[in-house]
């Protein structure tokens, strides 16, 4: 269960988040949509503590993240970064197995590698890829390695920042299914940022739309089309004309 109350964040004069209220029940999948540069990535980073909000509280399972043990908290999270953020000094499998090889429950090398290869297979990458370096992969392949790394330790809460951007339609479908599977079968709580409306419908239980630093609309995915919010309608139908200015 993740709950945000009045979360605000400003960079210099750029007020990115103005007071976000949002809650996501355990075991559900929420998709966050919104224009480019509206602060979706910043929002996820605030929850993870990578960016410190100026105001507001963030609760995970009822506990204020500012006051809980950060290591214990982060151990429950997995995150796919928008840019992949793969460690370029390590091989692909070492990236994926990074978390598995550390900490109290560290796996031996051979076993960690097996798990990594299995995770790579789940994101549609062949075992041969395991021994390459991230710089030797295409952008979409890097994205999928990042995804494999995020899910490798089977975290309870997973954040995906644009998991299907840069993937072909078939691979997007595979990834959408994978995210759905992780939520349904493993019971994980997921928060996904995406611009791809097909993904939204495939992944989401709930949808939240971020606009101008606030949650403009939130509700179950089934209510999205019937909602009469003009901002939301403009966004999901990709219309150039509407209340959202196209030059931002």
């Amino acid at each position: 269960m993740i709950e945000l109350r009045g979360v605000a964040k400003r960079f210099g004069t750029n007020q990115v988040l103005r007071g976000i209220d949002l809650s996501l029940p355990k075991g559900q999948s929420m998709v966050i949509i919104g224009g480019s540069g509206t602060g979706k990535s910043v929002l996820l980073k605030c929850i993870l503590g990578l960016v410190r909000p100026d105001a507001g509280t963030i609760l995970v399972d009822g506990q204020d993240v500012e006051r809980t043990n950060r290591d214990a908290l982060l151990a429950r999270f997995g995150m796919l970064f928008q840019g992949g953020a793969l460690f370029d000094s390590m091989r692909v499998w070492e990236n994926v197995a990074f978390r598995l090889r550390r900490g109290a429950k560290a796996l031996p090398k051979a076993r960690a590698r097996e798990v990594a290869v299995e995770k790579l297979r789940r994101v549609g990458l062949k075992p041969e890829v395991a021994d390459l370096f991230p710089a030797e992969l295409s952008g979409g392949m890097q994205k999928r390695v990042g995804l494999a790394r995020a899910i490798a330790a089977e975290p309870e809460i997973i954040f995906f920042d644009e998991p299907t951007t840069g993937l072909d339609p078939i691979m997007s479908g595979v990834i959408n299914e994978l995210i759905r599977e992780i939520v349904v079968e493993m019971g994980a709580t997921a928060m996904t940022i995406t611009h791809d409306m097909t993904s939204v419908r495939a992944i989401a239980d709930r949808v939240a739309m971020l606009h101008d630093g606030l949650i403009r609309w939130t509700g179950p995915v089934s209510g999205m089309d019937a909602a009469d919010d003009p901002y939301l309608q403009q966004f999901i139908h990709g219309r150039a004309k509407g209340p959202i200015e196209s030059v931002r």
Binding site: L48, G49, L50, D71, M79, G83, A85
Partner: protein
């Protein structure tokens, strides 16, 4: 007018002081992680190779030519007082006390502070540092501590190697161009060199190694966004490390030798 002038002088002074404060706080925070597990031995080994082994050629070349030039200069200067025979001992003392550690330190600053700052800075701007955090790994422990420890331990070794090669450079010049007898040159070197001449240089080397890694890591982790941010971080790391090395050298020399 005067106020403007004062402001123009004051602003950079305040900026420098603020930077010193930030570096000090950073150093204290890193030191607090030094002895607490987990320890990353692989990273440490990697850093030893990167900082120590890979710097050997540069440090050796620097020392060789410096030792040679030193012998020529001291010979020229000494001949004014008919004191050419001091060449071996002055070369040895000069290398061990000052030039070995300082030039070695500066070369390491150029080579290592820059590469650490660029590497960590790139990791920072490509969110790899954030990714480390989400993978339950403290960047200070994983990235900074191994480099800091490696540099502090390995630069004294580099200085020792540099001292020897510098003295050898002086000897080569001495016997080939200055008509010294090889055995006499070596005997003079050994007889007049005291343990603390070398020991003080090694302590300086450790301090310089610490400074180099500290500045590289500090500026890398605080790198601005994009390629320009990494460029600025790299430049600041090298400049900061070099200035700090020279200032620290003056302080340590004062502490060690002004009795």
């Amino acid at each position: 007018m005067i106020a403007n002038l004062l402001a123009a002088i004051g602003r950079p002074v305040i900026a420098v002081l603020a930077a010193c404060g930030r570096v000090t706080l950073f150093a204290l925070e890193v030191l607090s992680h030094l002895l607490r597990p987990p320890f990353y031995l692989r990273e440490f080994g990697h850093a030893v190779m990167q900082i120590g082994w890979n710097s050997l050629p540069v440090v050796a070349m620097t020392a060789l030519f410096t030792g040679g030039a030193l012998a020529l200069q001291i010979y020229a200067g000494g001949s004014r007082f008919n004191a050419e025979s001091v060449v071996p001992s002055i070369v040895a003392i000069g290398m061990a006390r000052e030039l070995g550690p300082v030039l070695g330190g500066l070369m390491v600053a150029a080579r290592v502070a820059s590469s650490i700052a660029a590497e960590i800075g790139t990791m920072k701007v490509t969110e790899q540092v954030d990714a480390l955090v989400t993978l339950s790994t403290n960047p200070l422990k994983y990235l900074v501590v191994p480099r800091l420890l490696a540099a502090t331990l390995v630069v004294p070794v580099l200085v020792a190697v540099g001292d020897s090669i510098g003295i050898m450079g002086g000897w080569l010049v001495g016997i080939s161009r200055l008509q010294f007898n090889s055995a006499v040159y070596l005997k003079n070197t050994v007889d007049f060199l005291e343990f603390w001449d070398i020991g003080s240089g090694l302590v300086k080397g450790a301090a310089f190694g610490f400074i180099v890694a500290l500045m590289g890591c500090h500026f890398g982790l605080n790198s601005g966004r994009g390629a320009q941010g990494v460029g600025t971080a790299t430049k600041s790391a090298v400049v900061g490390a070099s200035v700090l090395i020279l200032a620290t050298n003056y302080l340590l020399t004062g502490v060690f030798f002004s009795s």
